[in-house]
Amino acid sequence: MLRIIDLNALSEARHMTEDQIAEEQKIVEAAKSDARAFAAIYDRYFEQIFNFILRRTDDEALTDDLTSQTFLKALQSLKKYEFRGLPFSAWLYRIASNEVNKHYNKKKRKRVFSLEEERLFEIIETEDGNPELDGQINILISTLNDLPTDVMEVLELRFFEERSFKEISFILNISESGAKMRLYRAIEKLKKYFTVNWKE
């Protein structure tokens, strides 16, 4: 049976219009002089950052700590923040990613990617519409397990966090072409076992 992975369903990045980014930038500028204005940013992005860290740790208590640490670091170095035409969330993701990396480097434990089952169900389908999901998901998981961690990071940011390549390159501190290269490597690997529907 032909297994199909439909990545198009997940690839619509959470694009913000330029007006929205400019509007957000005003809040950030206000927060630079008055920390209380940071509440709006905290409210807007807490859930996203929490989910991102939870996907990287699979531990709610740890996620709580790291999310809190991420926002604290953001607040403390807000004055150093430079607008680069990206949503402010990209900067928060970068701090969160660094915090997660720091945690794993300190604990010297194997990295975790905790993916929501229902999210995977959204992307896997079969030609006859009768998904033998358990078997397919197991194959998908073992394929993802075989990917290098840096490739998995890009894949997760692109399809689960729905970040654009420009944002991913900023978050992971790599070039945009490097981010694309990593993703293509992942897609090529997936193509060995699945028919991948994806068009960037």
Binding site: A35, R36, D43, S68, L72, E116, N145
Partner: protein, 95 residues
């Protein structure tokens, strides 16, 4: 053996549950505490810097004071040479 582990989560975290972890007041408390600590650290660095500068300037002036002679005339003692040896006291200096 992979370099990472892929885990499947049966349930997605609900917004309501994540909301329970939000604590903006705690964040602000931590921020103000960290801010106070940072200010205290900066202040102590400045104070230590000033103390260091004062100490260095004290050492500098002390050493320059030591090297400066107390008067413009150099005193040389010449044992065995009488002070009045060359003085003409017979005719008030007329030769």
């Amino acid at each position: 053996m992979g370099r990472h582990e892929i885990r499947l989560r049966r349930n997605r975290m609900t917004s309501g549950r994540i909301e329970g972890y939000k604590d903006y007041r705690d964040l602000m408390n931590k921020h103000s505490r960290a801010d106070r600590l940072r200010k205290a650290y900066r202040l102590s660095i400045i104070v230590l810097g000033i103390i260091g500068l004062l100490f260095l300037s004290y050492l500098f002036f002390r050493s320059s004071e030591k090297s400066t002679p107390t008067s413009g005339v150099q005193k040389i003692s010449r044992p065995g040479v009488l002070i009045n040896y060359s003085l003409n006291t017979e005719n008030n200096g007329k030769t």
